[in-house]
């Protein structure tokens, strides 16, 4: 064990892990966050707390993680390099660990032009891979960038994202290898819709031995409606939604569409579980957290291991 992370324990024990996303509120409303947190409590092994996702201003990820932790959750702190330079990122890592957080997901972040602060400066002092290395050097060498020693180094279980569906296709596994080499302990992938391409990505990862070195957790997002499926296909950066899934959503009557979306998600979970090297799933039920227990039950994942 590299850390005190509960997620690391679950994965190391060989359990099929379940994580879910919990986006902080667009303000300081703690009760909204607690409501969402309550829906997921005891249902998942860890909960990802997004960092101003799609560049929309929300409650700080560190603060929201801390609130969720006090509820009994195991938070995964998402950190993007878009908004903070290396001074702020490293400082927040110290603070996050001091607050009891043990997992971090290192990301570059969606470009600021996507969000509600389009005129903002994009920091991008570090890229996600450099952030991964930074967190690892903090943990394993007790040093910050530049080599200064840390008083009480944060020992984080380090995550990274990978998008098997972005281009250039043959570069994706090279980039995954770079992230693992830099220090990623686990990977959470972009939402899997294109199963063929995901399967191919996992095959390539296995071929170069990456599944032995890193836990790969497959991203799952249920469609609420055909509109959402189409929106994700055309408007969300890095998504790959095959036409036949959109057709499935449009092909059922309106009152059955949400049900169909959940059915697709459950089928996807079942398929990714069959793929060798997939260590768990990451459920991103965007503003639909109340459906997480139902999806997990249908997929036979409702009982979380006690570690």
């Amino acid at each position: 064990m590299k850390t005190e992370s509960r997620l690391e324990k679950v994965l190391q024990a060989g359990h099929f892990a379940v994580t879910a996303e919990c986006g902080p509120p667009k303000g300081s409303d703690v009760s909204r966050l607690e409501e969402k947190g309550q829906l997921l409590l005891g249902k998942v092994d860890a909960v990802n707390v997004t960092d101003n996702q799609t560049a929309i201003v929300r409650m700080s990820s560190v603060a929201a993680c801390s609130i969720l932790k006090s509820m009994g959750h195991e938070p995964i702190l998402q950190m993007v390099t878009r908004d903070r330079n290396r001074i702020a990122l490293q400082s927040d890592l110290f603070g996050a660990y001091a607050l009891g957080l043990r997992n971090v997901l290192c990301l570059t972040g969606d470009h600021q032009t996507f969000g509600n602060q389009r005129e903002a400066i994009g920091v991008f002092d570090l890229d996600s891979i450099q952030l991964i290395r930074t967190v690892r050097d903090m943990r394993d060498q007790g040093k910050i960038i530049g080599g200064d020693n840390i008083q009480g180094p944060p020992k984080m279980f380090i995550g990274a994202a990978e998008n098997p569906f972005a281009d250039p296709m043959r570069w994706r596994v090279v980039r995954l290898a770079k992230k693992v080499e830099a220090g990623a302990d686990f990977i959470q992938t972009q939402c899997v819709f294109n199963m063929e391409r995901f399967d191919d990505f996992m095959r390539q990862a296995r071929e170069v031995g990456l599944t032995e070195k890193v836990y790969i957790i497959a991203g799952i997002t249920p469609f609420k409606s055909p509109g959402m499926a189409r929106y994700m296909a055309t408007r969300v950066a890095g998504m790959d939604v095959p036409e036949d899934l959109i057709n499935r959503m449009t092909g059922v009557p309106k009152e059955k569409q949400a049900e169909e979306g959940i059915k697709i998600a459950v089928e996807t979970i079942e398929k990714v579980r069959e793929i060798k090297g997939v260590a768990g799933i990451h459920l991103m039920a965007i503003e639909w957290e109340q459906k997480v227990p139902e999806i997990l039950k249908a997929a036979g994942l409702e009982n979380r291991p006690f570690v």
Partner: protein, 222 residues
């Protein structure tokens, strides 16, 4: 070269309406190449201003001059006799030109007529592309002569982000993905191996992050 664009006449007028004599000064270097501040564009701007003022029944004195370079004293001196005869200088130089004129003509208001955009190249007639941010530590040799600092919208040093799709950047479909360009070019050169190595955080202290930069070379001083 420096690429710039002409401001709207309305914005220029907001800055110069208080004066009754205007010296419009072009720059026949970079901004001539990008067709925004050369001799021709300076004449056109003066004509447009005259017309705009005429519509308001105003007739300020508008004189035109054009320097070979607005950022070098030897050239700047050539309008020394005209500057005192006008209340304001409207410069079609880049930001460097405007500030150089202000340094030389200390008692004269110098107003920019252009928005200075970037260091770039003329890709084809009518198309200019940004391709250098002047970071102070050129790494083009490692990236197939495609700059990740400039051509990647997120300045990524270790490969494309998850938003690269069909060779296009997530920011806008009109923007080619810089990393897609890097990979294609290195692949064509048989040098893809250059990309497997981890690139540590960039030292931005040589960029503008280190404060305004200045080069002093004793061997070049008079």
């Amino acid at each position: 070269m420096i690429v710039a664009e002409l401001k709207q006449i309305s914005e220029i007028r907001k800055m110069i309406d208080r004066y009754s004599s205007i010296l419009v000064v072009g720059c026949d270097s970079c901004v001539a190449e990008c067709a925004s501040g050369g001799n021709r564009e300076t004449m056109l701007l003066a004509a447009a201003l005259r017309l705009s003022y005429k519509n308001d029944n105003k007739y300020p004195i508008i004189t035109v001059a054009c320097l070979d370079r607005q950022c070098v004293d030897d050239f700047i001196d050539r309008i020394a006799h005209q500057v005192p005869e006008h209340e304001v200088v409207l410069s079609l130089g880049c930001g460097a030109g405007v500030q150089a004129l202000a340094r030389v003509y200390t008692d004269k208001p110098i107003i920019p007529a252009l928005d200075t955009l970037f260091i770039g190249e003329t890709e084809m007639r009518g198309v200019w592309q940004e391709n250098c941010l002047g970071c102070g530590q050129c790494k083009l040799g490692y990236f197939g002569a495609v700059c990740p600092v400039t051509r990647c919208s997120k300045k990524l040093m270790n490969g494309p982000c998850g938003g690269s799709k069909n060779g296009r950047c997530e920011v806008h479909p009109d923007i080619p993905c810089g990393w897609d360009m890097i990979i294609r070019r290195l692949d064509a050169l048989g040098e893809l191996d250059r990309l497997s190595e981890y690139v540590p955080p960039v030292d931005w202290s040589t960029s503008h992050s280190g404060g305004p930069r200045r080069v002093v070379r004793e061997d070049q001083k008079p």
